[in-house]
Amino acid sequence: MKLLPTTILGLSLFTLLSASAQPLEPGRLFSMGFPSALSKQEFQSLLQRFVNDKYQKSFRTLGDENDFDHGHFLFSAQAPQRPVAILYHTQELTHDASMDPAARNWIQWVDGGNVENAVRYERREYPHTATWDWFIARELPALRARHTILDKMLDPALLGTDVSDSRQWVFTRVECGGAPPAPGSNLIEITLPSGPSVCLALGQS
């Protein structure tokens, strides 16, 4: 996999995050703001399904900020405790000729777990307010250059829900020493389609 020159910087941050991503005491995860109506096991199952579907197609290194280490839980005003979907960004700092650079944004529906390319939900038009005009002029070009779709770029009409809140959760690869994650900890375990398991620490940034 070809990495950007700045990956050296990325690795240093990854190292920093890994060092700080120690297992938490049982119960701490929800006090950190993890959605109360989504269990850790549910999220683990959702992420496992995503990994089964997209590993080696949309990303190669799970739990590494250079490639794939975060998702945005999307909440609707009607159900503020349980996310309706998760927006994942893959190939964060990597460029791989064998992967489609446009296949970086994914919507996974929490109920059912289906995964779709977020491109189909991207806004075709934007509202005209001072804040949106600024976003279009100042931020959108850089995002488009990286084929990135942010939560605010999703069209509520296409999604079928108005996203009222979005919370980013990061899953950082850590060593679990072969032991299964304790139920109340912030650790989850994902099995890669190639065989090995990866231990991930959940955190907010």
Binding site: L93, A130, A137, Q168, S205
Partner: protein, 186 residues
């Protein structure tokens, strides 16, 4: 009515009034909108966003708008500038200031971190000059960590660049969402 007010405002500029003594928020809003009418689009959208966020500016000049004590900032200043192709960040035309005591030794560290960070002569205020409020948050949060010895200048520069890249890739950072320190007590 608004047309008359704008004409009056513009007449004020023509007469050389660089900072008209208009007091009502509506008058200041109209004056500000008239002032930025001929700004470069890049500068204009920044000014309009700040007006939407912080209300009408407190000081209005033909090429600069200034807010005092709005949000976490002591001073917010945006000015008209020609877009350039030197950087993907856009022209650095937004300066935001916090109260923050800085010693001479700390000042040198900050200079080594970024030439976009400025400390006033008295060492009581720290300002950041970038193209957006998010970048000013990021720069000042890192400046605070440099001052406190939590990062060295080179590390802070690397983190700044990495945060920009990850941001363009879709990852948000608390460093760009607000000040992570109390400006008056570093």
């Amino acid at each position: 009515m608004k047309t008359y007010l704008r004409l009056a405002v513009l007449a004020g500029f023509v007469a050389g009034c660089s900072s008209a003594p208009l007091r009502s928020p509506e008058q200041r809003r109209e004056l500000a909108k008239a002032a930025i009418m001929n700004w470069y689009t890049f500068s204009q959208v920044s000014a309009l966003k700040l007006i939407a966020e912080y209300g009408p500016p407190d000081r209005i000049e033909s090429s600069q708008l200034v807010w005092i004590n709005q949000g976490p900032w002591e001073i917010t200043s945006v000015w008209d500038t020609q877009p350039n192709d030197d950087t993907t960040l856009g022209p650095e035309n937004l300066e935001q200031t916090v109260a923050y005591p800085v010693t001479t030794e700390q000042r040198e560290k900050l200079q080594a971190f970024s030439d976009k960070i400025h400390v006033n002569g008295a060492g009581t205020e720290m300002s950041s000059r970038y193209s957006s409020e998010e970048l000013n948050f990021l720069a000042l949060n890192l400046a605070d960590q440099v001052v406190k010895g939590m990062r060295d200048p080179a590390d802070a520069r690397g983190f700044f660049d990495l945060t920009l890249q990850l941001g363009a890739a879709g990852r948000t950072s608390t460093y760009t969402q607000g000040l992570l320190f109390d400006g008056k007590t570093p």
